[in-house]
Amino acid sequence: MTVRNALRFARRELRGGVRGFRVLLICLALSVGAITAVGTVRDSIENGLSREGASLLGGDAEITLTYRFASDAEKSWMEETAQTVSEIVDFRSMAVVDRGDTKERGLTQVKGVDGNYPIYGSVQLAPAMDLDTALAGRDGRPGAVMDPVLIGRLGLKIGDAFALGGQEFLLTAALQREPDNAGGGFGLGPRTLVRTDDLANAGLLAPGTLFESAYRLKLPPGAQPDAVEQDARTSLNAAGLRWRDSRNGAPGISEFVDRLGAFLVLVGLAGLAVGGVGVYAAVRGYLTEKTNTIATLKTLGATSGTIIATYAFQIGAVAVAGICLGLILGSLIPVAFAPIIESRLPVPIVVAVYPAVLAEATTYGVLAAAIFTLWPLARTETVRGSALYRNGADATLPRPRLRYVATTAVLIVGLVLLAGWFSGLMVLTLWSAGGLAVAFVALWLIALATRRVAKVFSQSRRARGYSALRIALGSVGGPRSEAAPVILSLGLGLTVLSAIGQIDANLRTAIATNLPEQAPSFFVVDIQTHQLQDFLSKVRADDGVSKVETAPMLRGVITRINGSPASEVVGDHWVLEGDRGVTYSAELPEGARLTAGDWWPADYTGAAQISFAAEQAAEMGLSLGDVLTVNILGRDIEGTITSFREVDFSTAGIGFILSMNPAALAGAPHSHIATIYGEAEADVRLLRNVGDTWPNVTMIRVRDAIARVAEILSGIASAANYGAAATLLTGFTVLIGAAAAGEPARTYEAAILKTLGASRRTILVSFAMRSAIFGLSAAVIAVIAGATASWATMTFVMETDFSFEPFSAAVIIFGGVLATTLAGLAFAWRPLSARPARILRDVD
């Protein structure tokens, strides 16, 4: 009976339209829409990556070796196992254009390929031609294709010549699309593609130079990649080998998308919280307006259960509509943005409706709607029939009963745990939820404080005589104040934006400002041992150079610790991911400091000894006396840790995790790296002098590398900003909803003020001031909360210094004040233009 009556009452009330619920509808639609859109984009990319896995990888499987080619035995195994094998070599070098009196140089990531490349997919060139034709060259000069960015940078035209090391190439086409370029990860230079055979005379692949070789395998139909991998690991020299197959063609991108997607879903949750505030305010406002109806129904015999059910049905109906709208919106947005997303990715994405994403977003929407409506809904229980004899709308309702509070708490915990489970980042979710809770409480307290301060000021002698200000303060501090919903919703949105702004600005500062003060001008790689002395003399002779450091450079993989597989001993640690730089030195390098143990004697020739970076050793739980097995060039070298030393990676100088005694690495072919410190003016001269003398040596300008890193960071920051924008949009909706909900009250107030003699200007100024007060409060707390979050991120995650960025903060404060003021003024037109008599008579 209760349910039937409630349904009937609910239907009758909804006949009048959903005007009172418009904000609830929009807030839920936006929040659910944002989460759906992010999830759909993530799944569309992942689906695209998995569909194009083989072509991204360049084969069904890939074996990568660090600075060596496969041995004959290894090649035989590959040829027996695969239908087709393609050998790729990848390294950094300098592309040099000789213009007679001047030489133009550009850092490039060279890829040498054989005739089988690419096994899957195709290379797109401009002008259109096949790769074989392009690389065949003309007039005895081999052909090369190059990234259009580098072509532009070097001022080349198709048909021009350039050199890589000692070999001249003919530029035959621009490289438009490289099917397998997503697997390579981060490269500092744009791509140049040539035949590996044509590099034979370039002098760039001498023993000890830094290159990677990759063997792409086309497996026979029906071959199981995991079984072939097992076979490879047992048949080949497994230690220095890295295996990938088309199950995960572009692990870097896939992982990045996964992480970014999860992060953006968490930002979406902040949006959900902001939307929730709007839902709460809308439901509370609606039910407050219905106080007389509720009191009348109670007078006529309706029970509290019937009342709650009546309004729960109404809210539920609107919430379902809002969630559906959000799901549709969130599924359509990725379709609209697909071309933009695809232009930044190596594969076409597969935009579709993903049921799992819809289910996830629906779950969030339903839980958020329940959490934020239960509280105001439960308050209807406390409305008494006597409200009819008072001004019901002014009644201050007490807190709902404990069971509703407890249910709300359980729902919140459920939402947070589900979010952790969905995103797969439980710890980050818990931290985010904790941060949100703290921000919520802080904003709620600031809303309370704003009201209290405004009330005190409105009644203080100082405000007397400033009627517009006092009226504004009275409104902020008095009953029916919009302070809580406006400050909470806008404040949360601005907090997310402020945190991203501060983190972004701090990272940029760390990379672009602090580092170059101590960082070298150049990293130099591939200096052959016989070139080292001449190189040092020549560089030191330059007046612009203040310091040169060099070190022998080998690369090795730590495979075992005390005889057990390294990853089993220490778990995931970046030092164990792939190969690391290894050096040797007879004496403790200048400026280095041992934190434990002793350095080996200068003439030591005994069993291999290792000096390990102290901080990383502590993280990995290593101690003196531990035995490490390091695979260098396919050979396992066992060494004992005899000392720990401080290594500062933050200054971009030469820093090695692992240093060994010289005898331990005797015989291993290797080259040297150098860092050159000096004035910026010397850059071009050094590039020319070193490049002309030793074409095989690659010089990486640190300033260029920093620009490249900053570019990547700005891409990440813009993705994060899209997420924050969705949150802010929801915040603005709540803001506009609050302004719209307050319009009748302001119209009434304006009518009375006009009756008492206030000019429209006075009233307008008063409205603007109250909006600005809300905006200022929300923005100030957002800047403080955002800076705190940024400080925590920079200090504990990035482990770097935090400095408060006043520009980002000023933009947030100005934006907050402007947004609230504009929203308030947008709804000032009716109050200002309405004739007082009409308004006051309506109330009579």
């Binding site: 009644a395 006092r470 104040s481 009518a751 003699g757 008599a837």
Partner: protein
């Protein structure tokens, strides 16, 4: 000397059912210090007539002169300033600003006219109507009778030359109604003002110097 003069004043409003004539050619003259009771059945136009005099509604025909000013030719802000300086208005539904305390409500018109002692005067006006202990209460915390006394104090605070009261006891019980009427007439006497009182109750109208009857938008007597 007439302080309020209406000549052929008309008011027509556009409603959902088309244009409705509310007042049809009102001629009325009210002298300084005179008290006039406007009575008539619901919908006769007595409140609308009061709104025309207050400048809260603009006549759609004829002329409305108050203290020598043509109310039909003044802009909205000029009308607001005119009310601030010369009128005190009391409504049936009190119309206090809900976000302000009693003291702030009464001080508002004085603040708007730049009076330095606005709050002191507001406090003494509230004291005069027996609400010295309710200065910092919000309207929702006051009874109907108390709210109307605040409204009276607010109307009287600027010491207006003209009091306009639109059924000030309409929402009150007999006892409170009597208190309000006594207070209203006392304030009129104190400030030596002109009073125009709209009421349904003939016995209240009888307390005025003159009674004007309206029916169907016209003065009948």
């Amino acid at each position: 000397m007439a302080v309020i003069t209406l000549e052929g004043a008309e008011l027509a409003l556009d409603g959902n059912v088309g244009r409705v004539d509310i007042l049809r050619g009102i001629d009325l003259s009210i002298e300084k210090r005179e008290t006039v009771g406007l009575i008539g059945p619901s919908g006769s136009g007595k409140s609308s007539l009061l709104m025309l005099v207050a400048g809260l509604e603009l006549a759609t025909g004829g002329r409305v002169d108050v203290l020598g000013h043509d109310m039909t030719s003044m802009g909205e802000d000029a009308l607001a300033r005119f009310r601030r300086d010369h009128m005190g208005i009391v409504f049936q539904s009190f119309h206090l600003i809900p976000t302000m305390t009693a003291l702030e409500n009464v001080a508002t018109p004085l603040e708007l006219s730049g009076k330095a002692d606005a709050f002191d005067r507001a406090a003494s006006e509230l004291e005069a109507v027996g609400l010295a202990d309710r200065l910092h209460h919000y309207p929702a915390q006051l009874s109907g009778g108390e709210q109307q006394r605040v409204a009276l104090a607010r109307a009287a605070a600027p010491r207006p030359e003209i009091f306009l009261a639109d059924e000030p006891t309409g929402n009150l019980d007999a006892t409170n109604g009597q208190i309000i009427m006594d207070a209203l007439f006392a304030l009129r006497d104190k400030h030596d003002s002109t009073l125009v009182l709209v009421t349904h109750a003939p016995e209240l109208a009888e307390r005025c110097d003159r009674v004007v009857r309206l029916a169907d938008g016209r003065i009948t007597a």
